[in-house]
């Protein structure tokens, strides 16, 4: 066959049997050599014109189909790459959320960990607060004892005062007794001195105890304040942490839902990608069909050349008989060269059948 078109060659191109070639029988119907010559020239011209018109059209279709397929292939690859990246991102997000909120391996949730830690913290604070409360009670007891001691010292001071008064009375009585009361006056004087010292000592002790009691009262106030603040802070921290954990759990739920939707979308896209892969094979099917058409056009061109050869021989004055016989032989040869089946039988892009031997 004449090599007259530029395209990727396909072995055994496919052609469905067409109608028999129009071969005017060399009979009496052909009245003159001139008529037959014109007929041959017209047939050759028509066939050549049809081939020359259809060939670039089919080549253009083939080129457009190839370009479209190439563009679609590139788009498909880019789309698939994007979907794969989306899938990987979704998996990473899911893993990150799982790792941060569910814990790795232990099964204990982050929320549980936070709440457990805070419970321990609050318990610890509560224990401190309780101990502080006990200390406050003990301080109160010490303060009460101090107050009782102050009362007792007050009584001692009073006793010292009375003792001093008694010693004064004793001194007066000793003076009345003159020389007989001289010894007694000395004793009364000493008792008076002791009473003075006792009073002074009681005052000093009372002063010290008062100072201690005031210090205890300040300590008591501080401890009560600390205990109260510790509990307030702990309870507020716990409430805030609970809100935080709840917020994280809601976020986790939302993200998990979104990731699920992403995965579902990725699955749908993957399914569509499968359809695109199947449909893109139209390029191969169309190409094979076009190549078959182009080969058939080659046969038509051969026919045109055969008719042109007849015209030339008749124009040169050769007798009709041998020239027509040669034409007939050539046309039979061309018809025999046609492939009598179609490789592409499917009229749709539905997936083909599968046979395992």
């Amino acid at each position: 066959m004449t090599s007259w078109f530029q395209s990727t060659p396909k072995a055994e191109p496919v052609i469905e049997p067409g109608p028999s070639l129009p071969l005017p029988p060399p009979t009496a119907a052909v009245e003159s050599n001139d008529v037959l010559q014109r007929l041959a020239a017209r047939e050759a011209s028509m066939l050549e014109a049809q081939v020359n018109f259809l060939t670039p059209e089919l080549l253009q279709v083939d080129s457009l189909v190839r370009e479209a397929a190439g563009t679609l292939e590139d788009a498909l690859k880019t789309l698939n790459k994007g979907v794969n990246q989306q899938h990987l991102l979704a998996v990473e997000i899911q893993a990150a959320m799982h790792g941060s909120l569910q814990g790795e391996g232990g099964g204990e949730s982050m929320g549980g960990t936070i709440m457990g830690t805070l419970d321990g913290f609050v318990s610890h604070i509560a224990e401190i607060s309780q101990s502080t409360g006990l200390l406050v009670e003990q301080v109160d007891e010490i303060r009460e004892r101090s107050e009782r001691m102050e009362e007792m010292l007050g009584e001692l001071t009073e006793i010292a005062g009375r003792t001093h008064l008694l010693s004064l009375n004793a001194s007066i009585e000793a003076a009345h007794a003159r020389q007989f009361g001289a010894g007694f006056a000395v004793v009364a004087g000493e008792v008076s001195k002791l009473a003075d010292r006792s009073t002074a000592l009681s005052s000093t002790i009372q002063e010290q105890i008062r100072g201690t009691r005031q210090a205890l009262e300040r300590t008591d106030a501080h401890m009560q304040s600390i205990a109260s603040k510790d509990m307030d802070v702990a309870m507020r921290s716990k409430e805030q942490a609970q809100e935080l954990v709840q917020s994280l759990q809601i976020t986790n739920f939302i993200v998990r839902d979104l990731v699920g939707q992403l995965e579902e979308n990725a699955g749908k896209v993957a399914q569509q990608v499968g359809h695109v892969v199947r449909s893109l094979q139209f390029e191969d099917l169309v190409h094979q069909t076009l190549v078959a058409c182009l080969k058939e056009l080659g046969n038509l061109l051969d026919q045109s050349q055969a008719w042109k050869a007849l015209e030339g021989r008749l124009a040169a004055g050769e007798p009709q008989g041998p020239a027509l016989a040669d034409l007939e032989a050539k046309l039979v040869e061309i018809e025999g060269a046609r492939v009598q089946f179609r490789a592409v039988k499917s009229g749709s892009l539905a997936a083909g059948e599968v046979d395992l031997f």
């Binding site: 990727t8 060659p9 396909k10 072995a11 055994e12 191109p13 190839r66 397929a69 190439g70 292939e73 498909l76 690859k77 698939n80 990608v273 499968g274 892969v277 199947r278 449909s279 893109l280 094979q281 139209f282 390029e283 191969d284 099917l285 190409h287 094979q288 089946f341 490789a343 592409v344 039988k345 499917s346 892009l349 539905a350 997936a351 083909g352 059948e353 599968v354 046979d355 395992l356 031997f357």
Partner: protein, 120 residues
């Protein structure tokens, strides 16, 4: 190590679609444009599966199947024919040449992977 599949087709679109599908399932894929090229690519290579078209220039797919079967290293390698040809007589020729299975184009990725996983 990923399994290696040779795909033979004179259509670059078909080769790309087959490669796209197989690589998506983590197979290594090598390509050839026709039977002659396929024999060159297959030489000295460990192949787990060969998928070939029928109508190709230089050497058609059925000749390729017969030539591969004559080589000891590919005597038992699964060979699938992927073609537009659907005539029973052609399928019989493929079976006689030594093909493992016959898939009519166009293929769907799911069906192709089903068959690949069955024969490999």
């Amino acid at each position: 190590m990923a399994r290696c599949i040779l795909t033979v087709d004179d259509s670059s679109t078909m080769r790309q679609m087959i490669t796209f599908t197989l690589k998506g399932a983590n197979f290594d894929v090598v390509e050839a444009e026709d039977g002659v090229h396929a024999l060159e690519v297959a030489k000295g290579r460990k192949l787990d599966l060969i998928i070939t078209d029928v109508n190709m220039p230089r050497m058609d797919g059925l000749t390729l199947v017969a030539r591969l079967r004559a080589l000891p290293e590919f005597k038992f390698t699964p060979i699938l024919v992927l073609t537009t040809e659907s005539d029973q007589s052609m399928k019989m020729r493929g079976k006689e040449a030594g093909a493992t299975g016959w898939i009519v184009k166009p293929f769907s990725p799911e069906k192709l992977m089903d068959v690949v996983n069955k024969v490999i």
